[in-house]
Symmetry: C3
Subunit: 266 residues, 3 copies
């Protein structure tokens, strides 16, 4: 069993210049030194729950079954907001009940959501400002050792989810959506999926408008598009993104999160 | 014994855009591939020994007993400054003898400090500019394999420590301290601990003054304080910090490391 | 065999604020959870193949034999550029055939270069924009499990390499080179090695000129040089670098990658 190490992913807004992330890891190791820790990112903008939720959406499902996903963007740490475990067939998710799992609730078949209450699983003394270290980390440790989530608290139904911003259709010839993420390369990831832009529609004549720029090139990969030209393609997150090969679409098009886009069909 | 892997933490000012950190890790693995490496941070401002020492203070003691802490902020690498191992009951610390362990000397019962001298434990050839890779990393590797630190050199007593900046009391109604760290969220961590601001005094009427701003709200957690309002609370490092929920206290109050604070009691 | 874990290093231009790096790691773990993953850096400037190649040069050879090095800077992902495995006696290198292994071809005895073609080793479905996750990561996973690289494709000879910029000698008294990397500390790493600046020549009277600044101090380590003074020394990469102890040479001398340097001998 020695090589059967549980994988734990970590996604936070803690940054990497402080001791915060390492303390979470140390607290997990205190419970179970035999886990494999993988950072998703710690660069979620401070307290930006939506950005955390969207990043988790893109990150979680590449991991092997039974991985545990810890996601902490927690502006109201120490308040009445509840610590929870979200159970699906493949994964357990651990974090605050503030909407950070909204995409998971939408995409996955959720079996149970457990409000963590069993304080004997916590680190002691409990800091009121650092639940990631003192509650979430040890809970992750115990989960990785096989403790049943339902032993750690009560099943709840009224967990918090925010509305996921959906694109809108205006008749058969117009879809409006917006940029929900700008990635490291300046690609503008929109909320348009293949549900809206079906194979059929990909064949139609169409133009995407963003900040008064017209994008007419719809590609399947970056290399298909001339350097410096904006193009639209489905990226690895399964969403339409506007990209400029060897450039930054966000910079060139003046776009950022929230920027509206429209697709007009001929 | 397969799951009995030694934990090694790494704290440096090397940044993460170069090969430096990975070379340290590779050099440790060359001696002992069976260690678990955890980054504390590599974003200590270049050559800022104090910042490194303070970060180590906050990071080390969450880790399981027998973890090894490597801390390298080393502006005079290659000079006469000594490589050392600091031994406490729970941990071994490895790094340069330049004051980076000053907080450890103050907080922990130090059993021995060993000047590393046994060159057969070094990586060869020894680079004069990269002792982290060529001295500290292999020494960490050997320690993690159970080599006794005292076999690696001589016990010394004259190890370097700097004066830790302490708050001062001016009569019964005034404490002066200063900001010693601004964290990722803009929280201003001061050098005021519960030694100065006792439970008793927390109950007294008082005002904290920082850069002509008055902070009257003393809380126990962030969520207690209205958004956008500065408050003071004891953070996870056990020190009083000035925080603005959903904002940056450092930015709003114009504070940074070194900024004076005063607490006046009524 | 439980502690015989393959080391895999990762070097990309993916940044650390997205899910990209974690997806590569997750995809490796899906094939072989029993690997040890080490980040070299993910901060290569986007699509800067040269910078990636140079960083790999400096990073790879500290690692134990049989480590696998994954290097992905891949501006033309999804195009006709080939995925390859570069085999040397000590390591396997995995990445795109776009020149990123140019330094390896120059320094190492390359046994074989294999174009990866065996799609049953890929992750499925294959994304056209994320070969690091869908091709390179599983290939690394299978290599770490002992699959022979030559089972994954065909040996090729016409792999891509760029010309490595070499210093030039103008008679016996002048060498010209340039800065090829500025590191985290502001040190300006040049392409001058001990091949050009031999022991003999290090003893000669000489001056290094960079952006009209004259550097006369040639040292062996940083601490030899007065604070704030520019000096030249051979750094841990085996290349001459211009450094300012407790300062940034790049900033003070206005230098960056590409800046010319000249060494005049008396």
């Amino acid at each position: 069993m020695a090589d059967k190490r549980h994988i734990v992913t970590l996604l936070t807004d803690f940054g990497t210049s402080d001791y915060f992330v390492s303390s979470v890891k140390g607290a997990i190791f205190c419970v179970n030194p035999n886990v494999e820790l993988i950072d998703v990112t710690h660069s979620i903008p401070p307290q930006d729950i939506f950005a955390g939720a969207f990043m988790l959406r893109n990150a979680y499902n590449v991991f092997p079954r039974f991985s545990i996903h810890l996601a902490v963007v927690d502006p109201t740490v120490g308040s009445a907001r509840r610590p929870i475990i979200v159970m699906t067939d493949n994964y357990n998710f651990v974090g605050p009940d503030n909407g950070i799992f909204s995409y998971i609730y939408k995409i996955e078949q959720v079996n149970r959501v457990v409000e963590i209450k069993a304080e004997h699983y916590y680190r002691s003394p409990l800091s009121p400002t650092f639940h990631a270290r003192d509650i979430f980390a040890p809970v992750v440790g115990w989960l990785s050792k096989g403790v049943d989530p339902t032993k750690m608290g009560d099943v709840i139904e009224d967990y918090v989810k925010f509305n996921i911003p959906e694109p809108k259709e205006f008749g058969p010839n117009l879809i409006k959506g917006h940029v929900i993420h700008v990635d490291h390369f300046g690609n503008c990831v929109t909320n348009i999926s293949e549900n809206e832009l079906t194979y059929e529609r990909m064949d139609q004549n169409k133009v995407l408008v963003i900040n008064n720029h017209q994008v007419r090139l719809f590609c399947t990969h970056y290399a298909e598009c001339p350097d410096g030209e904006p193009c639209a393609l489905f990226g690895s997150a399964g969403l339409l993104e506007i990209s400029i090969p060897k450039g930054s679409a966000a910079h060139t098009l003046g776009a950022n999160r929230g920027t509206e886009i429209a697709i007009h069909f001929a």
